[in-house]
């Protein structure tokens, strides 16, 4: 077993992204869907930091973009939870299959 290279981090991120994607696609509860999205954003962040660290350690562009991803994830989960709570108050559902009033 040799040292840990970039491809190890990339495969780790791909695994986390896949698990998060599965959670976002195949779960009933809307909050679980948000959790899956958070896992996917985490995987993207791992990719950005690993690429920046291994390919060009003199600049910090990947780190800065990871920080922006964290900012966007925070605002996304805040607005998403507010929407879920509003829907729950109106209709008493959090199941994404029941939220289909826009469907004709």
């Amino acid at each position: 077993m040799t040292g840990i290279g970039l491809e190890h981090y990339l495969i780790l991120a791909a695994l986390v992204f896949t698990i998060g994607f599965y959670g976002a696609v195949a779960k009933k509860n809307a909050i679980a869907v948000l959790m899956g999205v958070e896992l996917m954003l985490n995987a993207v962040n791992i990719n950005m930091v690993a690429f920046n660290r291994f390919l060009n350690a003199d600049v910090a562009m990947g780190f800065v973009f990871a920080i922006f991803v964290i900012v966007v994830a925070a605002s996304e989960v805040a607005v998403g939870l507010a929407i879920i709570m509003k829907i729950y108050r109106e209709r008493l559902v959090t199941n994404v299959d029941d939220i289909d009033w826009l469907k004709w």
Partner: protein
């Protein structure tokens, strides 16, 4: 500095993958939220392994601190009583699994094909690099991110406030 011990990497990766799987496979959504916190902290460990201590600290503060607490608040405000079977799969359980595994296979195959250069450049102070970029080249996106956070906060308050029914 990049020569981390492989055992530590495998341990942290196992925690990340295992807790992420537990988030998705757990039938109780409170357990999912707790495993999500474990996963976030383990991802912070991955950043620490990469030598990026600032991102690791931000990860713990923002993800494990703020986002996980928000999610737990959301669970507590939308569920009553028994928490069993609150986090089930929908009708896309097997189709989603197939698509996910296919995506993972393609991605891992492409990673194994690509010839990744292993440059092990020494890195100075991470915070100094980040600060120079964040307040130099990326100062406009930085301010836009601040406005985005403000708009998201106002929007979340307006949405969750409860409308005009009581007035």
């Amino acid at each position: 500095m990049l020569e981390v011990s492989p055992a530590i990497f495998w341990l942290i990766s196992a925690v990340v993958i295992g807790s992420a799987l537990a988030v998705v496979l757990s039938k109780n959504i409170v357990h999912s939220a707790l495993f999500l916190v474990v996963s976030f902290i383990a991802v912070a460990g991955v950043y620490a392994l990469l030598g990026v201590d600032f991102i690791a600290a931000v990860q713990i503060l923002v993800y494990a601190g703020a986002i996980a607490i928000l999610l737990v608040f959301g669970i507590m405000l939308t569920k009553r009583g028994d928490m069993r079977d609150t986090n089930l799969f929908n009708q896309y359980k097997y189709l989603g699994l197939f698509v996910s595994v296919a995506f993972l296979a393609v991605t891992v195959y492409m990673i194994s094909l690509s010839d990744l250069p292993a440059v092990t450049g020494e890195m100075g102070s991470v915070i100094r690099l980040i600060a120079i970029d964040l307040f130099g080249n990326f100062v406009i996106p930085f301010e836009s991110a601040a406005i985005l956070l403000l708009v998201a906060m106002v929007g979340a308050v307006m949405l969750a406030r409860g409308g005009n029914k009581e007035q």
